[in-house]
């Protein structure tokens, strides 16, 4: 019998054992599945918030308010500098004479009731940067601050930065939670495999007496771990997919009601595969450690 046939037979043996105790196998799938769903959903939420914040960042603006006495020459020089900056996607200039009526209109004022004797607004440039990198935006702001005639530079991405730092923190929390859950899973799977070995104690003892190697004894239990990992990973992936479909279905209803445009971004196929892969890896590793400990004690 060749190596692969032997492994195939052991896999069938493990499959048979899993089928023989179907309820406990399904429970194990569920335990592993739920353990993987929890951090995966959190990850999905963070990814979606990230994509929202990135969209907001793309729409962010840098506003340059000029000093009231800025000459036309100085304005032209500023415009020239803006043209030369590679991190600026587009810009437009708004004269204070145009800005004031617009503001009054939007606030519901007029010259008679605004209580101001003159136009309080300065001339301004509004810039759309082609970068979302906070460092580059910061450098651009410093550069603009130093230009002659510039009174104030305002970057309206402050709260996005805060959101990003919260998301960054959330990512770390998810990572930590994943490690803790993986440790818990290792203990649960290891214990289950240990119990399986205990229930097959007589078979293992007899097998050793009549010439079974440790590899021979290990294999079916390793495959049991593999089956648990695969089943649990698939349970998590399928459940996660169904959750995304369900949420997106709900979003479509909200869209229809409010006319908003928003869709839950699903995980990538590679991310789904990595959930299944991690599940298999943890289960096989936990089984391996547990089996070796049990064999040593036998």
């Amino acid at each position: 019998m060749n190596y692969f046939t032997s492994h195939y037979q052991m896999f069938l043996k493990a499959l048979h054992r899993s089928h023989a105790s179907l309820l406990s196998t399904l429970m194990m799938f569920l335990v592993i599945g739920v353990t993987f769903i929890l951090p995966s959903i959190s990850f999905l939420i963070v990814q979606n918030l990230k994509s929202i914040s990135e969209n907001i960042q793309h729409e962010s603006q840098v506003s340059i308010f000029l000093k009231k006495d800025t000459s036309t020459d100085a304005k032209n020089k500023i415009e020239k500098e803006l043209k030369n900056r590679t991190e600026i996607n587009s810009y437009h200039f708004v004269k204070k004479e145009e800005a004031w009526p617009r503001l009054q209109k939007s606030m519901g004022f007029n010259d008679a009731n605004n209580g101001l004797s003159e136009n309080p607004l300065p001339d301004a440039f509004f810039i759309s940067p082609n970068t979302v990198n906070p460092n580059q935006i910061g450098e651009l702001k410093s550069f603009l601050d130093r230009l002659d005639g510039v009174d104030q530079v305002v970057v309206d991405t402050g709260w996005v930065k805060k959101l990003n730092s919260v998301l960054h923190l959330a990512n770390k929390a998810i990572l930590l939670a994943s490690v803790l859950l993986a440790s818990m899973l290792t203990v649960v799977i290891g214990n289950t495999i240990h119990l399986q070995m205990t229930s097959h104690h007589e078979e293992i003892e007899l097998s050793k007496l009549i010439g079974a190697t440790n590899q021979f004894i290990r294999r079916p239990f390793l495959y049991s771990g593999f089956i648990y990992g695969l089943g649990g990973g698939l349970t998590a992936a399928i459940a996660l997919k169904l959750i995304v479909i369900f949420l997106n279905h709900s979003v479509i209803e909200v869209e229809a009601l409010y006319g908003s445009q928003f869709i839950i971004v699903d995980l990538k196929p590679l991310e789904y595969l990595s959930i299944i892969g991690s599940s298999v890896l943890i289960a096989v590793a936990a089984s391996f450690v547990s089996i070796n400990q049990s064999i040593r004690k036998l």
Partner: protein
């Protein structure tokens, strides 16, 4: 085939199980290891099959020194033996066929060969019609015959039995002994540890143990 040279075995707690044992067993012999309970018969079989290592001395099996053997080589040595235990050590959650197939699976015999060899072994011990039965449904004598079928299915060159008739009445015990004689006639080396003196044939070699010492070797 098997050579013991000044072998000692001491268990933890300074319990001397065997002392200064020296003997030789040739291929094709049928040997009785006899003596009262606690004489060291089972320990002797455990040393032969490398289940226990000797404390001192040398055990040679087919030119290999079992005393110096690495632990990962021991399973391959054990495959050369057919073992029959007093308590049968059958797997009661598997049927007769599956019980006998186990040593073949351990020996990595191909799936296609397993069926034929299992049936041949069952036929040899007269249990061919009980292939699908569970061991619990068999009588004591049938269970021991099943255990013998499991021991011979890999066609071992040496068969070891530890009190194989211990739980059987005379009729079944005779049946079992006749099976062992028939294997010896086929050229298999058979070693039987027993304290039941009426079963011991005077025609065969005997190693008589008492309190861990080899008192007497009787040969033809």
């Amino acid at each position: 085939m098997i050579k013991f040279d000044q072998v000692h075995k001491r268990y933890p707690g300074n319990l001397e199980a065997l002392q200064n044992i020296t003997f030789e067993i040739n291929a094709g012999e049928l040997v009785f290891v006899t003596g009262p309970s606690g004489a060291g018969k089972s320990t002797l079989l455990k040393l032969i099959t490398a289940i226990e290592p000797p404390t001192h001395g040398t055990i040679i099996f087919e030119s290999q020194n079992l005393s110096q053997m690495k632990s990962d080589a021991i399973p391959y040595i054990r495959r050369k033996f057919g073992l029959v235990f007093q308590d049968h050590k059958l797997l009661y959650d598997r049927n007769c066929y599956e019980n006998i197939a186990l040593p073949l699976e351990i020996n990595e015999v191909g799936i296609n060969d397993i069926k034929g060899r299992v049936r041949a072994a069952l036929d040899k011990v007269g249990l061919l019609n009980r292939e699908k039965s569970m061991p619990i449904s068999l009588s004591g004598g049938e269970q021991q015959r099943l255990a013998i079928a499991r021991a011979i299915v890999c066609r071992p060159s040496i068969l070891l039995a530890d009190e194989p008739t211990g739980n059987l009445d005379k009729k079944y015990a005779d049946e079992i002994m006749n099976l062992f004689y028939s294997f010896q006639e086929l050229g298999v080396t058979v070693i039987i540890a027993t304290h039941e003196m009426p079963l011991i044939s005077k025609k065969h070699k005997q190693l008589f143990l008492q309190a861990g010492n080899l008192i007497k070797i009787t040969e033809l």
